[in-house]
Symmetry: C2
């Protein structure tokens, strides 16, 4: 008799992307498939100093069990960081530290979702969010987006029709969409939160990675202008894209009752986030190196994004359409099939691998009603020369 | 309208222990209440060197996203560590790294427990296990224990009656019981696993903390002698009690299908355990300092345990009964009420706090049928002089 697993596992499938990733080991492949930052940009020296300072200044705190809510010096630094990004009314007790922002999503699922509950997500949205919420039994509803983010009129209809447990958005340089929710829509979403008393989850791992002018303030920051809205906003932040994913340091801002329940759930998930990683992150933020680190990653990714955009236009022409991203890590594109060229992104991905370049087809990013002509291209980990060469190969594959 | 939380939260209550812990801040309190190791024994210098080596030798690996299964050099070190403890048939792919062994419990719950499923635990058992499994909807059944661990005849009856999804045991120096499952019972449990095709979860955070001769081999190690039993054993290990809880590095050994499902669940729980912490732990194990560290903590805790045992006999006499622990962090004791003295551990805890000493009443450690006369005393974090003084205060409080 084999093991009988929990019924919740029936709600998730092994990812199509996983199969693709196995092919990435092929020698000479240029990969636009990943969703991670470039290791070459990590401030190793700054993190080395920060970890040393953590062990020197408070070895007990950095190595012992810690509070489930997070290491207090880090909570203080993170509150300061959020303030520097326009969130006026925040104190260290207003957030908890999570083991990456992935854990914030898991805690939201554990805390909020009963089997069968509706949750609205963007179509497309982050793949691991879809699976994470489904493991808790969520019935996902997909809200359409465009280059300005989620379409708010449609979102309102869906909230009215489905009375969701919450709405999950990546408003700033979304994954995979790269879309940037505009200011007017952000304000309207805050109105919807209050009008329908619906929790809005703002996942914001990419907001610091802008290339030109800064994006509009986060929904959390804007909530100060909309009376009664703050209690309906949960905001997830992360050090992963700007400092180091390996630390697994994320955080969640929410109203006190939700934070208390999430903390209780976290106690039984992993007790607390690594205090060594938390103390290292706290020392890093305290060291004052963060602004220069952010300026550096913005500059490098901006150059790569510009290169990829130019190359895509030149090499693929009207076979593809996309909006040039203003930040984040991704291009989101649609194959047009113009001139009888390939229109199915799965088929295109196979041909591209044969030519020595990889990307991720867009279909798995949809909870429902996938568009099979979409694809995601990351410009984060290949340098400018590799981007030119890789997009050249895409140009060959699309023919 | 307030937020509507998930129904699974109805299965857990806020812990009585939490309320007690708030009193521990009182000045001058000597605490036997904690469940953590002594920070003063952390090998800070060894961990400092290990973290430096991690950032020097492979900064990308230590700071970038990593495989959900764990950082390969750490998996190799942990497989070697398990081999050194008598587990013959293990390779690095036979285990996954977890964010502390608490996460291994969470992943077992997520992977195995459907709402309403029966799970057998020891009575008493680790408090956070009870709550962790209940969050996944487990209906817990409590198997009685004595100083030699779980009573196997009773366990067999319960397995037959309840057909549990799995049996959860802390066989070696249990928390809170301090009990040591004897060799004969370990062998019988392996027979039961095969006979009833029932998964046995062996949680083993304390096995390295023995004071005299080494305890019997783990159930996992013994499974090599019982054909067909290995696939029914899941074993959870931890660096928390011997090296540092703050790293949050634990691991789980299990059959491939269970590991694969747990890995999928972990992907959506926290993506992976901090690679920085994993690389640090890997370098530490590689450095060869672990045997000396283990010898040191064994020596210090042995002395403290001996001191506490002598002092309890001298100061509380026949008001209390207990078995002297042969390892771990805890005394488990029962108030006898002899001579009309206090018999309720909750009442005793209140009086003890007034006298300036804290411990944890035993009742919350039972999933069912709590014995209100029991209590747990940790000897790990107070030095010998404090133990003498604290137990003296207990002697006053028991009168």
């Amino acid at each position: 008799m084999p093991l009988q697993f929990a019924t919740r596992l029936d709600n998730v499938e092994t990812s199509a992307i996983r199969e693709l990733f196995k092919l990435l080991g092929k020698p000479g492949i240029i990969s636009f498939a990943g969703g991670f930052p470039d290791s070459a940009m990590f401030d190793v020296e700054g993190l080395r100093e920060a970890s040393q300072a953590a062990l020197r200044d408070e070895p007990g705190g950095a190595l012992q069990y810690g509070a489930t809510e997070g290491y207090d010096p880090l909570r203080a630094q993170l509150a300061g960081f959020m303030k520097s990004k326009g969130v006026r009314d925040i104190d260290p007790q207003g957030l908890i530290v999570t083991t990456g922002s992935q854990q914030a999503l898991d805690l939201l699922g554990k805390t909020m979702i009963s089997p069968g509950d509706k949750v609205i997500v963007e179509g497309p949205t982050f793949l691991a969010t879809i699976q994470c919420f489904r493991l808790y039994g969520a019935d996902l509803v997909s809200a359409p987006i465009d280059a300005d983010g989620v379409q708010v009129d449609r979102l309102e209809e869906l909230i009215r029709a489905h009375k969701p447990k919450f709405v999950y958005l990546i408003p700033t340089f979304g994954n995979p969409s790269g879309a940037l929710l505009n200011l007017e829509r952000r304000r309207r979403i805050l109105d919807l939160a209050v009008k329908y008393q619906t929790l809005i989850v703002e996942d914001d791992p990419y907001g610091d990675l802008y290339f030109g002018e800064a994006p509009p303030p986060s929904i959390l920051a804007l909530s100060a202008d909309v009376p009664g809205s703050r209690e309906w906003i949960a905001h997830c932040g992360s050090m992963s894209k700007v400092l180091s994913p390996g630390l697994r340091v994320g955080w969640m801002v929410a109203q006190p009752e939700l934070l208390a329940k999430a903390t209780m759930c976290k106690q039984f998930s992993d007790a607390h986030t690594s205090t060594f990683a938390q103390a290292t992150a706290a020392q890093y933020l305290k060291s004052g190196r963060m602004p220069a680190t952010l300026a550096n990653v913005r500059r490098v990714y901006a150059e790569r994004a510009a290169t990829m955009g130019r190359a895509l236009k030149r090499e693929l022409g009207d076979a593809i359409e996309f909006t040039q991203p203003q930040g984040g890590l991704f291009f989101w594109a649609r194959l047009t099939g113009a001139g009888g060229r390939v229109k199915d992104a799965g088929e295109f991905a196979k041909r591209a691998i044969e030519k020595g370049v990889a990307f991720v087809p867009g279909a798995p990013f949809y909870a429902k009603d996938a568009d099979p002509s979409t694809l995601r291209l990351s410009f984060a980990t290949a340098d400018v020369a590799k981007i030119e060469e890789g997009v050249g190969r895409l140009g060959e594959a699309v023919k």
